[in-house]
Structures are given as C-alpha cells and as structure tokens.
Amino acid sequence: MNTASLSLEQTPPLSVPLRFFLTAPLFGLLASFLLLYEGPDLLINRWHPATLAFTHLLTLGFVTMVMFGAMLQLLPVLVGCSVPRPILVSSILHILLSLGTLSLAGGFVMGNAWLMNVALVLLGMSFIGFIIVINYALIRVKWRNSIMTAMHFALGALAVNVVLGIGLGMLFGGLGIILPLPTVLIHLHFTWGLIGWIGLLVMGIAYQVVPMFQITPQYPPLLTRWLVPLIFIFLLIWTVLDILAHLNKVPFIIAQLFPGLIGLGLSAFALTTLNIQAHRLRKLPDITLNYWRVGMIGLLLSIIIWVAGLLSSDLAMKPFYPVLLGVFFIAGFVLPVIQGMLYKIIPFLIWLHLQNQQLNVLKVISIVKIPNMKQIIPDRLARRQFFVYLFAFGLTIGAILLPTSFTYVLAGVVLACSFLFLGYNIYRALWLYQSVSQEIANCNSL
C-alpha cells in the first residue's frame, strides 16, 4: 500500500487561508456601502444592477472568499492531501477572485461592458484554477469520506455555475450573445450557486466540524452518505425539467416537485444539525454554536419562504419576494455559518502557528507565553459582534418588507458595523499574532 499519499501533511503556511479570511469582511463592508449608496431600490428589485452587484459582493467577495481559504486549509489537515505550492497558488487565486469580484460589481453598478468582460476572465480563471487545484489534490487520495464526497459535488456544482455565470455575464457584457430563456438561466445560476456550491459545501464541512466543536453525536451515516449526492442529482433533474417546462414540453408541476424534494433534503440537514447540537456534551456558551443555530433556523425559514413561493404565485410575483428569499438564504443561513466557523478556525490557526514557531526555536532561552484561543479572539468581542450581526439581519429583512429611506439607511449602517466589527476581531487577532511572533523571533536571536 502506498503510504506516501497518506503523509498527514502539516498545516499550510498561515498566510494561505488568512489572506482570504482577512479580505472577506472588506467585501462585506463594500456590500453594505453599496446598499447605503444605492438606496431602497436595491432591496426591492432583483433585476436592479446594484442588487446584482450587492449579491455578488456577498456571495463571491465574502462567502466564496472564505470557502477558498477554508478549503485550502482543511484539505491538507482533514483529508491528508497537499495542495502544490500553497503560497503561490493561494496568492494567484486570491488576487483573481478579489479583482474579479470588484470588476464584476463595478461592471454591474456602472453598466460598464468592458469591466464586465474583465470580470468574466478573472473570475473564470480563479474558479477553473481552484477546481483544478482541489481536484488535483483530491484525486491522489485513495479513500473517501463524507467531507470529500461533499467537496466533489460542491466543486461539480461550482463548475456548472461557472459555465452559467460566464454565459450570463457575456449577455450582460454585451458580447452580442443571445441566450435562450435568459430568466430561466438566471434562476438556474443562483440555485446552483447557492444550493449546489455553497449549500453542499457547508453540509460537508458541517459533517466534520459540528461534532468536533461541541462534542455532539455524529450525523447519522445514512444522511452523510446520501444527502449531498441526492441533492446534487435533484438539482440536475430539476434543471432539465425546468428548461423543458419553460419550453412547454412538460407540465410545471412535475418540475416543481424537485425544489420540494431539495427543500426536504435541506430541512433534514438543518433539523439533524439542530438535533445533534441539542445533544452536545459540551454545554458551555459558545459563539460558534449560536451562529450555527441561527444559520440552521435561517435555512429552515428560507426553505419555508421558497416553498410558499412555489405554492402561491401571488407571493412569488411580488417584486420583493426573490430578494427576501435570497437575503434569508445568504444572510440568514450562509453568513452566520461562515462567521461561526471563522471564530474557531482563525484563533486556532494563529495559536497553532505560534506554537510551531516556538517549537522550532532550537536554543530556548526564555519561553514566550502563547495566547490561548480565547485571548486571540475574546468571547466578549465575538459575542458583541454576533448581536450586531443579528440586529443587521433583522433590519435588512425589515427594510425589504418596509422599504423607506429610513429603514434601508438603518439596515445599511448596522450591516456595515457588523462587517466592520468582524473585520476588527480578525485583524486584531492578526496584530496579536504579529507581536507574539516577533517576540519569539527576538528570543531566538538573543
């Protein structure tokens, strides 16, 4: 048996995941500023270019940004396969994703075709690069577990979505392309992006980290084995049926069966997560737990809103409806889950790298005290940020339902505060890292 592929690689350099984690809150902040700048239109009309910019600043600039960093970090640690030349690879992906997202948002807001085309090239390269790098690492591992299965399907969904996104971008970019059924393709694009890429990946990560952090029972094996592949297959079938239904080849009711099934699958995931968390052995207050619980409730609520829209076309036709659904899914499910994860990953990585740096000092003259995780990001700061975030989410929902110049300003300001606070907590941790790291280096040079 070849054991070389099972070498339990050491963790990649700190800068590999951290560059993504440090950038994400800045995009969140930018999205909040856009909300303030554009006004209530942004929250009531899904076709408004600023709404599209806002959505992509969050889904690409925040969510995908963190996911890139988390996958480049988790892959070597949890799966035991290494990413080749991690610093070079992460720098290139990070720059492409950052600049691509900025140009995309700029392209939407200014209606600039040139920027849009630049965005397509940059984002296309970053996604294709990411898919190749991760697949290259995954392929060399001879065994499978639920997180790897989820990563495979999430990457598959990302690939589908890149094709849809580039096609739609070319449409917006005025490249003279004519796409059939553009509204159907847009619908497919956000469903594959939100449920396929982000949703499936969150599920895979949850299978791994939820039992770890709160010492809960494991997810049932039946669920971890089948749910992600099943949702992926439902997405595929739904895609075909939805297109056929719009071409009047099959009745709509048949196509709509599948969103119902996907909704059931996602609900099973959310309810199972809440259930195993209720049976956790570690009962102490924990900000990650709070964030994940909010996220699971947010997911359940977005499924209810989704199904309500399927059942009532009156509701689905309301201009605010798609925005409400998107905000519930992104800001009520994905953002809390990601923020909760960051509050565990970042302090741990900083602690681990300082610890390793200390161990590598050969001539130990004096030992520098390494701050523990709760000193790196104090609970009280994380907790306050959590409440600011909750407030921001509530106000954003309020501004969608009651769009006035007052409600959206309030929502925008508090949303900006929540990202600013998150950023502060992360940058503060980085500064602490730098000062302790310097102290260790000084001890070494004495």
């Binding site: 048996m1 054991t3 070389a4 099972l6 070498s7 339990l8 050491q10 640690v77 949890l78 799966v79 035991g80 065994w143 577990n145 791994q208 770890m212 952090f213 010492i215 052995l281 570690r282 009962k283 102490l284 565990k344 302090p347 741990f348 602690w351 681990l352 610890q355 161990l359 523990n372 995780m373 709760k374 000193q375």
Partner: protein
C-alpha cells in the same frame, strides 16, 4: 472482528466525555470536582497516547518501514497536547477559570483535528497494513491497560 479504528475511536469518544465533564466543573468553579475530573481525563488521555506510542505506532512503522511519516506527526501532536495539559494543570492549581477555559477551547480544537486525522487516515491505514496482526495488537493494548 474488532478493529483498531473501532477500539481507538471509542477511546476518543470516552476522553471527549471526560474533557467536557472537567470543563463544565471549572466553568462552575467547582474546584474540587474539577481537579478530580481533570486528573481522570489526563489519565485516560495518557493511557491512550501510551498505547499508540508504545504499541500501535511502532507496529505500523515496522510494517511500512516509515518512521518519518504519519506516526511522526501524530507523536508531535501528542507532545503539543501534553504541553497544553501542563498549562491547564497550572491554571487549575491557580483556580484561574478564565485561563483554563481559554486553554480548554484550544485543546478541544487541537485534540479534535488530531482525532479526525487518526480516525480518517491513520487507523484505517493501520487496520490495512497490520491486517492479520490486528487481534494480537489489540490484545497487547488490552493487557497494557490491565498492567497499569
């Protein structure tokens, strides 16, 4: 047939339980109970480490001819955890609950990512490379415990 992954994963779960017990006692400032629960936790962890370091890892290293591979990383992580154990013991002696809880949070993540690597990579690999010797190795581990 009993396997390494089953036996040693069950030990991880057992230690997790003891870890959570000690932590909640510290959070409630029940220092006497915290001390005894913490000692119990450390005792079981050291037992588990010793079985791996003295029985499992040498067998795997002998079979694969690789001493700088996964087992070396696991040994290093055991050392890292032992360092945190020491710091936790100190904070317990000083009845510093804030320090203990910060350290226990750190230990939890360190321990869990270590366990995940063992359960997902090292144990399945051990069951495979040790193959027919698995029962005798498990027996050695069992006897090791009885000898303590």
């Amino acid at each position: 047939m009993e396997t390494i992954i089953q036996t040693l994963s069950a030990e991880h779960s057992h230690c997790d339980k003891l870890f959570a017990q000690a932590e909640v006692k510290v959070a409630n400032k029940q220092w006497n109970e915290a001390n005894s629960d913490f000692s119990h936790f450390i005792f079981e962890m050291e037992q588990h480490f010793a079985k791996e370091e003295q029985i499992l890892f040498p067998s795997v290293e002998e079979r694969t001819g690789q001493t700088a591979g996964p087992t070396a990383v696991m040994r290093m992580e055991h050392q890292q955890m032992r360092q945190v154990f020491d710091d936790m013991q100190k904070s317990l002696t000083q009845q510093d609950d804030e320090e203990y809880l910060g350290l226990s949070e750190t230990l939890l993540v360190l321990m869990q990512q270590h366990n995940a690597k063992e359960q997902q990579i090292l144990y399945p690999m051990s069951d495979k490379v040790l193959n027919r010797d698995v029962p005798s190795i498990l027996k050695q581990m069992q006897e090791f415990r009885e000898n303590v």
